[in-house]
Point group: D2
Chain length 382, copies 4
């Protein structure tokens, strides 16, 4: 398949929560025109797809996106030209979860948490989603607070139960994160932990790489290459960071890192299906929809550059131990300005060359800012 | 002065906000018996002093602790056996401050922010507080978002105006922080920036070291020693962290680091006045008052160990280049169990030996948990 | 088994290379009395055991400790009252290894490297050592320099060959390291990579945790607990660090972390056999033998404190969700001064209470400083 | 001045030590054709200038580049078409400096170290160099090893003496570094420390920013902007890093960071003179001269992109609080492929478009590889 076809085939999923307000523990700044329910979130996501052509699905977050009738929600999405993507569970925003969810010392809380995960599989059935994303905020703030190993036993037990509930063609992705909201131990802190659990569970369990969830200095593309080699890379939660889990727009902090990641994806067969490219970001101070459009474009540009790498020349230089030559092959692709190529791609898809400008001209923002008055704005937890 | 007298003379200030609910961007877990107004916060702070004997003041946070009559609040504190400590400004929780406060590109917002800082000096006058603590969340999330240098000019201008408003015997402490809530640039990111501004302003401007506000690997005791040498160490915001600004109990993550810091404080004359020992913590999952008591005890234990260092033996080993010998002198003090010594200190002050147990037995928690029902619990922003 | 018996049973292995000169890329400072051959290294190691009673084996490093007759070397060790511990391979100090050893793009270099590993197993046979330690400096300095995934294939191939050569009762420990000497990719950068390879190989392959080989902020005790749960913790390379792989004396930088690690070891059954406690340090500026004695004592003190934890009280507090109570149980043990207990242990073993002072009085240093003149001092690479 | 003229005027200084062998503490890999004396290093540096046109000076390192007749060395440089740049002092490679140089507890060692610095000023006089670069490896490995504050006193004293010796038109640049080779305290660990000393000394003392010398997460462009605002940015030691002070080719690890730094340089007037652009790198595994050529090109490309930023559009977006718009202005410049522009620049200077290819074709490497046989290859310390 040629570069244009591969770029056209790449799907980048946007998350419903990116359209709502978000912030830090210090302040959530409210923005105009923010959606007030899952239906309005879908409408915003449809805009991103309308202008980029490569964002045809939207991830849901339960219970934030809980509705009475998921079939109706799915139908609504289809009418908007998009589909339902991954179902994201949430076992961190109930008072019961202060000391953990599936790893909590109290079996009652564990039961409640696991039941929520099972409910998410029900929602997958109802919406046709094939992917469950599991992130656990479980952990400890203080040494001694709970038994690190016992918590792994409890985690394994819950994962096994959920795994057993997965139907044909369904999978779950286990997310890892170094820290936050737990500040001493996180129960799934790194890819090794997620990987070890997934290997024991079987092929329907895979690891998801959130690009903001690593210790400083971690080489993310190494993890990507390793997991692809093992058949255990389920997908990405894309965002970028300078310090911690900053959840900035993907590609904004280190576009070269994003390129290197996409190079491993391309080289490891990750563009050929099975790897979900999802955004997971917080637009705390920038407008939401343009923030998503820009992010989709950033992933696309990095992918285009990765596809431009002269793989034969690269392999030849690597074989001969030509350090500078091999590096130069990579940098040649990176230094290429791929914006004209992507403009051409969009033209071929009947889209405008500059999605940001096209969205700005569309009047959508002015429309929703006027319409969406009253009610409760969506936000983390809303 | 002997060790006992110096430990008795050390004052550790607790912050009013530590008694309210706090959390992360993911969730604020509510606790029982949490105060609903500044008066109830003072009552809780008085408990910490009652059981430790070394926490005689409480820091206020404006506008969280705004009252109509500050003289009455001060009198109330005195009745409870404590006093008002530092006044903490807040220019981060208003929608106007989304892109900055005193460094905001819009002069209207800068004026509003600076006016708030001036109001804080008014409150110092009204409460008799001699210390204003300035922390700015100002910064950027994205490269290019604003002009880094121009923001320094605006910062300098605001600081100069506030400095000019300080009365006799008043000072401000400028706080620095690497990141959060800003995720690309923070306008006062490190001690060097705070120091440079304070040097230009004059003797009433000093730096405050928050122990959780540094890049990974930063040697905090070096900064403490350096600032003391320059006469620019105004005080501490104590807490501890494993990863970022975790705001855990001081001494919980790295008690040896706390000891090393206190060694520099003792060696540099920081116990002799002028350096404020303040706590700045979030008890997200542990009860608030015991969390403060434990923290006060942790600072006290580290101070006691630092006072036990055999300074003559240390200097002799250092002079002779005896690396292991000098290190051993320090470790001898650190490895000493100072709890008996502190129990003796408390006995001499008419206090119980174990403040944690004594508080637990006091029935205070049960009392406030029963009484403080209804109303709005205090929390960050409340 | 009671605490005293368990402390007496713990064996801490010292490395032959710690007795030679070491340094940084900037300078290796030469010290007096440094050994000039493996026999003199053994003699120094025997001193550490003579004064501590818990360091009965010494690790060798091949080719640094290559001799003609390993049986004679073993016999010499026995005469000195010690034994040969782990065999450490070295595939990083030959010009051929500039771009890698077992992961090198050139099959000739891979063959050479693997042959060296096989030779190390021969030396295990000859010395009776049951443990091979594998550390690979292999990696990349520049993006694109070589294929990350292909290098994993080559690594797996070499490991499988060495694994197949292991005899009854022999094992290898695979070491991971974030970076240095490679500065972009390290082929075994983290515990997850080492673990994944070891799981595939089988029970004779285990992971070794070097406490200085992690990204900033990594929770090492979590890794220890996890690997123990999986039966994959083969041992430790103990040292301490403030920044990178500083190779300082274990317990010198963060004694509380060492205690937490030993708590997981104790709780996870790691004291009951199978986990090797090895030192891997560089005494760049302090004298070597006292540096090793101090380090052995630091591990012993941390172990003693970990054994003092009231496990029943801890479990009860954990079960009831008493965050501060559980933390207090742990801290009670940590805050205990265990030096009297260890003095008593040594008395019961016929040793002097203070190994550092006893060694200093022994005159050994003066003796070797006078004797070991001429020849080539041992050092990294010598 | 237009972009082309500014790019033509920019001078990038290469360091004499980059042409010699270098490595890590684990191994220095020898390369072919490496120079054996300062004269051969100058010859190699002249090649870099010949093919790039913007590297007209070479920095010396004393004592590595000590010669009997500096006037003759300068004349030799002139004949080669280049000049002598900064003089770099070295007070870290003598056995006397094990515990420090100018901060050593022993006054004899301090005297020796300071005398070396004064000798470097003599060499400046003899060579016509106007810049002295001061880097101190001084620090501590263990807590307690020496007195942190007393070492600052000693540092201040030595700096004052050297400052007093500077002639008309001469300056020194004080370098800071977080760690290595010292692993607990470094006596000049951060820009704040260097700045504070320089401010007290006067206008002939400035700070030099080595891009590899910061804690993880440090925002270097902030420091650059701050120091330019204060008139205290003396220059750069360019290189790049993923982890610590990796000393890789500048722009290889994070080209976007290099661009952001150059944006602040351009915006702060740093291209208009006074700021020295120096490389400080180790080509451990890649050939030296091409490594330098590539690095010079990387700085040039980043500078070109920084000059392409539409400053008016940027300022307008910043003023209006348009976060995404302002970021987009910056990214437009970054995403531009400036290689054609630089090829044009070189054509205008009579150079070939691709310096890497031109050098490879020149036969210089084959020539020196054949000629430079025998003697001692230059390297760190040689």
């Amino acid at each position: 398949m040629d570069i244009m076809s591969r770029l056209r085939a790449q799907h980048i999923e946007t998350p419903s929560w990116a359209y709502g307000n978000s912030g830090t523990r210090f302040k959530v700044f409210a923005q105009q025109g923010v959606p007030r329910d899952p239906y309005e979130k879908l409408a915003d996501a449809a805009q991103v797809h309308a202008f980029t052509g490569v964002a045809p699905t939207v991830a849901l977050h339960i219970p934030w996106d809980r509705v009475d009738d998921y079939a109706e929600l799915s139908a609504h999405a289809r009418e908007l030209g998009i589909g339902i993507g991954a179902i994201n569970s949430n076992v961190f925003q109930d008072d019961d979860y202060m000391l953990g969810s599936v790893t909590h010392p109290d079996p009652r809380v564990r039961r409640k948490a696991t039941d929520h995960l099972l409910e998410c599989v029900d929602i997958m059935d109802a919406t046709g989603s094939d992917t469950l994303k599991l992130w656990f905020s479980d952990g400890l703030n203080y040494p001694g607070q709970d038994d690190i190993r016992a918590r792994q036993d409890r985690l394994a037990e819950a994962l096994a139960e959920v795994y057993g509930r997965l139907g044909e063609g369904q999978r779950f992705l286990l997310e890892y994160k170094l820290f936050e909201p737990a500040f001493y131990v996180t129960d799934v802190p790194d890819w090794g932990t997620a990987y070890a659990h997934c290997v024991k569970l079987g092929p329907k369990a895979q690891v998801v790489v959130d690009t903001g969830h690593h210790a400083p200095g971690t080489n993310i593309e190494f993890i990507v290459a390793f997991l692809l080699r093992e058949g255990k890379l389920g997908g990405f939660d894309f965002n970028s960071r300078f310090y911690a889990d900053d959840d900035l727009m993907v590609g904004a902090a280190d576009p070269f890192q994003l390129f290197r990641i996409m190079c491993e994806v391309v080289g490891g067969g990750g563009l050929d299906g099975g790897v979900a490219f999802m955004l997971d970001q917080c637009h705390n101070i920038e407008p939401k929809i343009p923030g998503q459009i820009r992010s989709v474009m950033n992933v696309q540009e990095a992918t285009a550059k990765a596809l431009l790498v002269d793989r034969e020349a690269l392999a030849a230089a690597q074989r001969s131990g030509d350090v500078l030559g091999a590096n130069a092959v990579l940098m040649d692709a990176y230094n290429t300005d791929v914006r004209p190529l992507l403009a051409e791609l969009r033209a071929g898809m009947g889209l405008e060359a500059d999605p940001m400008a096209a969205y700005a001209r569309s009047g959508y923002f002015e429309k929703v800012a006027a319409e969406r008055v009253g009610g409760t704005q969506a936000g983390w937890g809303a």
